[in-house]
Subunit: 156 residues, 2 copies
Amino acid sequence: MILSIVGDSKSGKTTIVTKLVPVLKSKGLKVAVVKHTHGFEIDKEGKDSWKIYHSGADVVLSSKDKLALIKRQSYEDFNEIYNRYLKEYDIIITEGFNDAGKDRIVVLNSKNNLGRYQKGKIIAIVSDFPIDGYTYFKKSELDELIKFILDYLNVG
Amino acid sequence: MILSIVGDSKSGKTTIVTKLVPVLKSKGLKVAVVKHTHGFEIDKEGKDSWKIYHSGADVVLSSKDKLALIKRQSYEDFNEIYNRYLKEYDIIITEGFNDAGKDRIVVLNSKNNLGRYQKGKIIAIVSDFPIDGYTYFKKSELDELIKFILDYLNVG
């Protein structure tokens, strides 16, 4: 099951995600979040793993309870990421990945931006102004939104 | 092709790895380094990706040119890591992963520790004291070591 949280920058997407994940986990579900970013530096400069990545190698860090893979890629494709890394999960939440076309919650700071997010089925909109024709939650109605999502995912 | 760099803590394993990788890359090879650690925090506390991981989800970060996967695992198994994430690489260097039993360079701070690293074929030892019966490089002889490794990997 894949659900996208898409919408405007700094509209509160991560707040929704971090509120939703523990609830899904409490249902016994294995959850992954895939976040699209415009460039990122995950590691700390000067650490061994940082030095190794910057020497030119892709890097896997592994300990008894955690694994990290940091690698170069030449393009972004949600379906490829899904096929390679995400098949083992019960629920996958994408934060961003608008173009992947998955069913989505759209989080808006401005009404005018709605058109950007119509590349997949909109199941609800989160914003501080109502938009006709859509299920709609205010940003302060996170508990209600979470309940709606659980119902949608059929894991309530 | 898999080569392990194993040995004592703070013996210079990462220095060897970060010197070796650019040379392998210059030969047109696709290189991954797998580093065993005793627990790590790859992300920066407070960042969105950190918050998402700590909310309970495994995390993929993706941008146009880079991907990071950070996930929980319940045990460490080199062969599983290899099969899941590393099949696309020409050369895989492990830093640590002594128990995986791969051919190895052993880097020593103390002669007495050699016995710990004999779970795979030792192709050379790096230390500041000679050890009978093994190909041997001083820590200052990195260029010679790199050349030896390239010959061993048959990519010289």
